[in-house]
Symmetry: C2
């Protein structure tokens, strides 16, 4: 894209004030020093301190990192839960010019090793109870010069062969409480987040301070953060920077609650915290909100979430989930869609004032299942296989492409950059979807998972959603299998719930017929014991396609 | 300030997506095409159209400007009221790469001539009933190549010697409805706004697209704009870009209402519009809100402004005004302070959650008179005469300096740049103030108006506010006059209201004694018939100081 120079607003040599993420914290402390930050400890109790106290520890951290030899531009890996220390690292580490490499603790050791080596990570900060993960990769990561353990214990009481070893708390105690933040070029990397697909090596997305600054400002404005908000951080902070919620909250000075280490069994405790602390903003995947709704249904006194925005991402939230929250608590589930390359949220689906008047209740709920409108700042286009834009008619689908101030332009040192980014700066999301005349995006598939049957496309995601809505179906996957006449035809793999094992194919076909045309129906339905998944829990369709590749061709 | 380069997030040659203001409109139309825009016509009736229709006219405007020869980087002056056409110009003109030079139609001809010539303005866009102003300067502005008149009339029916003459509406009709916006370098000037002080020539502040983009995002987030808001544009759009409200509204997709041509006599009509259209956000100077409160007091049915944010700038709003709105309508007046160099609002004063609990009602109102907290994104410091930062104790005052992503770094081709901007990028506001421990800024004076008496500073603004709070005082000014013993001593000039002409000095001294220490009281109070003001209505203290310079020294 040719860049046009207009009439320059400032004379040469007058530099722009740089967009540095540390300024969010500096300014939050100036205005809201006494605002509270809460952190859920391993034993479930709540630790409380203030922005001011947190900021002092961030400054100590920056000094501490310098004291052990971390330099500007060094990459430092982080393996940690959703704690206040993780939050301190979000500012203290990139504030002193280093790059935070967020490590997804659910990845396989070989992927983590690849990420640490590919990024040139020199130090690792590790939560005490994640030491095992660091130990598993240590031998294959020669670059690492030191391990900083987040623990309240004395280092001598920790059994590990990691070396050299530092204590996060000891380092902070010894460091000075004031740090003069650098005037860092805004294009300097703030963090790196590696994305793992079902194919190939993890790909490194490096976010600049500028990227993150702009995305967080958008997030604060579009999700209406205010200083009166209480924000609960449920999304793992190693996952696309925790969907940017902690930064947007800091930007606006809201109260923050970190959820600590948790899994679905802790949702009851987290729900209690939501009620007790009057949480008004949180984000999670549908499975977490599902579990929360179950907890709420069992509560005698229903919580009032009528002022809460419950941001739901990762995959499409079922209508039953959204209605359930609305009916039980008055809380609005806002679906949002994004990606690592787009630094989380690219859309949000909130009611528009005029559609609220024009649509029936049922139509509104159907609409709320869509991924939503694209946030201001981002260009979007949906293109066919020749790269031509398709009409915004709510029907014609194609690959969805994004570009904008915080969308990455490349994968770090990866040959996949050229195929994933266009010359005019668009990121090929790999998602298939369509836009309607009101600007709502609906994602129907991954481009590699879409089923091309007789020149028409069939959405595997829609069919999977329909299958799991049957009471007897526990899990389902739909893939396209080569077919001699129709190019591809769908195959459905279904895992039945216990107690429903007697269901037959005809029952399932009958269920699908309610929402799909005859030609869209699977050629075959197979009942299986389990469905292959990747290390991060996604359906592993690549493996399934190989396994069943001959099903419709051999006879 | 030395710029440190960190680890570069993207490889060389991968350009950042540019922050262009036209994207606000592009994205607003994608998401909220049907959102309404209302414009108050000269006859008081309301014209209505949508973002989509407005956007088509912006594109026609960009094509039209090109058709008459306007090129990238050309400066185009605008003399217009708060109309939908002015809004179209806000996007169509800078969108095609030209620079919008906003002209304050209340300036004297010699200042306007200076601005037009100094900026190198080539075209003028003029509202039909402001043609006279353009005619007054035309002969002294040789650079101007054409005049575009905003009118519904046929050009032949307009009597003027301006030439060549174009009709805004005719140009739009003839132009194509689609325009391919440029990928403009974000440091290109979007607009120029000249600031007029009481001394010297007007100084040109040139705002880049980047400046405006960032300021508008902040504005939308900090004043909690949402798509459900109805925003009434009262602030003149030629005045620091209308305090950025139209841009923040567009960024978030809110409904916009333009107030047209109006003065204080129209406030009753505008108040009716506020009620009828359910306005939830507006901004104005205290005098306008005062007039509005009077109107509301006379209404039988009081409007409910409990969801409205009434942003009040220009000068400190009296407590009676803020309480009046609160009591009569439930509406919150939010004081905000800014400057042309800071692109309007640098602070806002809204209740903080914990202060609401801790302070008494009276203390809260007193607090709300302060200028407020500095918005996130801006660095602030208050410095003494040696340039050292003073403590944030709510008492120690000094000059207030700002820097940040949208604060200008220079005046265009002006020798005053070096004295007004520091080497590390701070703008010397010329305002004296202090910060308290909660981050609230209180402005006490202009630095050149502060009175230095025996080593202590006396605030002329506080004393003027106290004087006009006396029922018999219509206007007042307080200046520092050279004094043989105390360096300077205050002099108060007072204009009495009709019916109060018998008030004597003792009465006024007695009134001041309630809030000022004895040493702070004026050495002398003079009753005068009028107080000198500048062309834009500010107190002309320079003239007063010259007039009374010998008062305390000759004996």
């Amino acid at each position: 894209m040719k860049l046009i120079k207009g009439f320059t607003a400032e004379p040469e040599g007058k530099e722009n004030y740089q967009l540095n993420v540390i300024n969010f914290m500096k300014h939050a402390v100036r205005n809201y020093a006494r605002q509270e930050i809460v952190s859920r400890k391993l034993d479930g109790s709540l630790f409380r301190y203030t922005y001011k106290e947190s900021y002092e520890r961030m400054q100590r951290l920056a000094n501490a990192l310098e004291s052990i030899g971390v330099k500007v531009a060094d990459r430092v890996g982080v393996l940690a839960w959703n704690t206040h220390q993780h939050y301190e690292i979000y500012y203290g580490l990139p504030g002193m010019g280093a790059v935070m490499v967020t490590l997804n603790l659910r990845l396989a050791s070989q992927d983590l090793t690849y990420i640490v080596n590919h990024s040139g990570t020199k130090y690792l900060i590790v939560d005490e109870d994640l030491i095992q993960i660091a130990e598993n990769i240590a031998a294959s990561c020669d670059n690492i010069k030191g391990y900083i353990i987040i623990t309240d214990k004395d280092l001598n009481d920790i059994e590990t062969n990691l070396a050299p070893l530092y204590s996060y708390e000891d380092l902070l105690k010894k460091a000075l409480p004031e740090y003069k933040w650098l005037n860092l070029d805004e294009n300097s990397a703030y963090a790196a987040c590696y994305t793992t697909g079902t194919t190939g090596k993890p790909k490194g997305v490096y976010y600049s301070h500028r990227n993150l600054y702009l995305q967080s400002m958008m997030f604060a404005a579009y999700f209406s953060f205010t200083v009166n908000d209480v924000v609960l951080q449920l999304v793992p902070m190693f996952h696309v920077l925790g969907w940017s919620m902690p930064h947007a909250a800091t930007y606006i000075g809201a109260k923050l609650i970190f959820s600590g280490k948790w899994n679905l069994n802790d949702v009851e405790d987290l729900t209690k915290i939501m009620v007790q602390e009057k949480v008004s903003l949180t984000g999670a995947v549908p499975a977490v909100f599902m579990a929360m709704l179950e907890v709420i249904r069992n509560l005698e006194e229903k919580p009032d979430f009528s002022h809460a925005r419950l941001i739901c991402g990762g995959s499409e939230p079922p209508i039953t989930l959204m209605r359930g929250f609305w009916d039980e608590t008055g809380g609005e589930i806002i679906h949002s869609y994004g990606s690592t390359e787009a630094m989380s949220n690219s859309t949000l689906n909130s009611f528009k004032p005029w559609l609220k008047k024009e649509l029936s209740e049922e139509e509104l709920w159907q609409l709320k299942k869509k991924q939503g409108i694209i946030v201001s700042g981002l260009d979007v286009k949906v293109v066919d296989e020749e790269g031509n834009e398709v009409p915004c008619d709510g029907k014609t689908s194609g690959e969805v492409l994004f570009r904008g101030p915080w969308i990455t332009n490349s994968y770090y040192k990866s040959p996949q950059t050229s195929s994933s980014f266009t010359e005019d700066g668009f990121f090929r999301s790999g998602d298939v979807g369509c836009l309607d005349s009101e600007g709502y995006l609906k994602i129907t598939d991954r481009i590699k998972d879409v089923i091309k049957s007789g020149g028409e496309w069939i959405s595997s995601i829609d069919m999977e959603n329909s299958l799991v809505s049957h009471p007897g179906v526990l899990e389902a996957a739909v893939i396209g299998i080569p077919h001699p006449k129709w190019d591809e035809r769908p195959l459905a793999l279904v895992v039945l719930r216990e107690g429903f094992r007697s269901i037959n194919k005809e029952e399932i076909f009958g269920h699908l017929t309610k929402t799909f045309a005859k030609w869209q129906l699977p050629e075959e339905i197979l009942f299986v014991e389990s469905i292959p998944r990747t290390s991060v829990g996604k359906l592993d369709k690549k493996t399934m396609r190989i396994q069943y590749q001959d099903l419709y061709t051999k006879s």
